[in-house]
């Protein structure tokens, strides 16, 4: 029983991080149909920027995270303007190749600046607390609360503000968005900004319980792809639910099956779900 609640809490924590990463990926896919492989690199940079600010200038964790969100968000916008925007009328394969190119470039760039070493991020919230009979570090609790707050804010932004609904409108009908007078280039930039910001939040929240290194985005981005394929490409609720489903499956699988097979579970699940529901669990319903 104790192990079960502990593992459910772990699943929730991992799932929160996965959901945040997958949300950024699904938003960009939803409006531009670009599978942004470089999203994993944005995640990695988010962690490095927060870490560097904390180590070099002793900036407080939250402020470092806020700066990281801004910088990575802007990087997303630059990526759109410099690479994806000029490719807008090119065949879809060009976007994919370009995205992989950006991923490789950013990883090499990180290695050049920060080196290939694994680093740890200290958190001001390292203390162990007792939570309904389980032990958890404050940081893990923060990941959960942080992710849920961010998701609620994102939901309110998308549903309740004019500017946020332009993202939904463009995802549902791009030409329709043109016809009501929405500047779709601006919406694309905004979406890349949010997407990068979400990656930076996810990375900064989870870095203290993981390690920071140039390849840290690999597994996360692959799993995020599994999640959005599971949840339906472009679906927001699908990305959130898919993230948590994967988080729980992994943490329960690690306990009851084997810790060594933890990462295989995601891809096994992908094969099974795609065989049963090829369009994903929530194929673009109710974005």
């Amino acid at each position: 029983m104790d192990i079960l609640t502990q593992q459910l809490f772990n699943g929730l924590t991992i799932g929160s991080v996965y959901s945040l990463v997958a949300l950024g990926l699904t938003l960009v896919y939803g409006i531009l149909h670009i599978p942004n492989f470089a999203h994993g690199a944005l995640y990695m940079l988010g962690a490095y920027i927060t870490l560097t600010l904390m180590l070099l200038w002793g900036v407080h964790y939250w402020i470092a995270m806020a700066v990281s969100v801004l910088v990575v968000g802007l990087l997303g916008v630059i990526m759109d303007r410099l690479v994806f925007h000029p490719l807008r009328n090119a065949p879809p394969i060009h976007d994919k190749i370009a995205a992989i190119g950006i991923l490789l470039f950013l990883e090499a760039f990180a290695q050049l600046i920060w080196g290939a070493d694994y680093r740890t991020m200290e958190t001001p919230y390292g203390q162990v607390i007792d939570l309904f009979g389980m032990t958890a570090t404050m940081q893990r609790v923060l990941i959960n609360i942080g992710a849920i707050v961010v998701m609620i804010l994102l939901f309110l932004f998308l549903k309740k503000t004019y500017i946020g609904s332009t993202i939904i409108a463009m995802a549902q009908n791009r030409e329709g968005a043109h016809l009501v007078g929405i500047n779709t280039n601006k919406v694309a930039m905004l979406t890349f900004m949010i997407s990068g910001g979400l990656a930076a939040i996810a990375a900064s929240l989870s870095a203290p319980i993981n390690l920071v290194f140039p390849g840290m985005g690999h597994l996360v981005i692959l799993k995020a792809f599994v999640i959005i394929i599971l949840g339906g490409m472009g679906s927001v609720p699908g990305a959130i639910l898919g993230g948590y489903i994967l988080g729980f499956t992994e943490s329960l699988g690690a306990t009851y099956l084997s810790n060594d097979y933890k990462d295989i579970i995601a891809f096994l699940m992908l094969v099974v779900i795609l065989s049963i529901k090829p369009k994903g669990l929530f194929s673009r319903e109710g974005f």
């Binding site: 609904s165 329709g176 009501v180 974005f287």
Partner: protein
């Protein structure tokens, strides 16, 4: 108000629209007749900025608008209600209408007033205002598309085949609504295959064949014209 002179549109090597001249005066209801593939939608997309013109000029209120971005054109007062409606299928009817007023988004009161007006014009939309646009019938979706276009308070409305695929009774209602919109002060450029119904409410018309205008004149002239009668009215 709108003046197209010698407008051509190419798709790759194929010329979809060739040297077309169209004028629409303020307050008029002008119809473009022509079969599928005659170039009516291409002309509309060129006016809306969704399609690049290869030559010619498009003047709207004496200002050239060819090559302008689609959102700038909507801001200048031209709105298109496209043939395939281009609604936001998973948004509700109300949300679709509110998105239609995007260019007036800072004027909350005006948006709400327009919303009431549109829902009054289309009682069925009022009834279905919380339903997803994708769940509506064809006729209802067409009304929503027109309603969404009206939300931008256009000076000129481009209506692309509003009667396509609708039951005869609904078509009749649709034309009544279009006439009412025009009488309320919106200039309308209407593309139609249903020549008889369209000419009944229009002031003037142009007949398109393979990308060029072959006949033009007042509605009475066109209704009496032999080519028009043979090709579109079946008399």
């Amino acid at each position: 108000m709108l003046e197209l002179s010698r407008v051509s549109v190419d798709y790759g090597g194929f010329t979809a629209v060739e040297q077309v001249d169209i004028t629409v005066e303020e307050g008029e209801l002008v119809v473009l007749l022509g079969s599928n593939g005659a170039g009516k939608s291409t002309i509309f997309n060129a006016i809306s900025g969704l399609q690049k013109t290869s030559s010619g000029t498009i003047l709207f209120e004496e200002t050239p608008i060819q090559g302008a971005a689609p959102d700038k054109i909507v801001q200048s007062g031209i709105v298109q209600c496209a043939e395939d409606r281009k609604l936001f299928p998973q948004m509700t009817v109300r949300e679709n209408l509110i998105m239609g007023a995007y260019i007036h988004r800072r004027k909350r009161k005006q948006v709400n007033r327009s919303l009431e007006e549109v829902l009054e014009l289309f009682p069925i939309l009022h009834e279905k205002r919380e339903n997803a646009a994708g769940s509506l019938s064809g006729g209802q979706q067409q009304m929503l598309a027109i309603g969404r276009a009206l939300m931008s308070k256009p000076k000129l409305m481009l209506l692309d085949e509003p009667s396509i695929g609708l039951a005869p009774l609904i078509v009749e209602q649709m034309f009544e609504v279009i006439q009412k919109i025009n009488q309320d002060g919106t200039t309308v450029l209407l593309a139609e295959q249903n020549a008889f119904a369209a000419l009944k409410i229009a002031n003037r018309g142009y007949v398109f064949e393979s990308g060029s205008i072959v006949v033009q004149g007042s509605s009475e002239e066109l209704l009496a014209n032999d080519t028009v009668r043979r090709a579109y009215i079946g008399a």
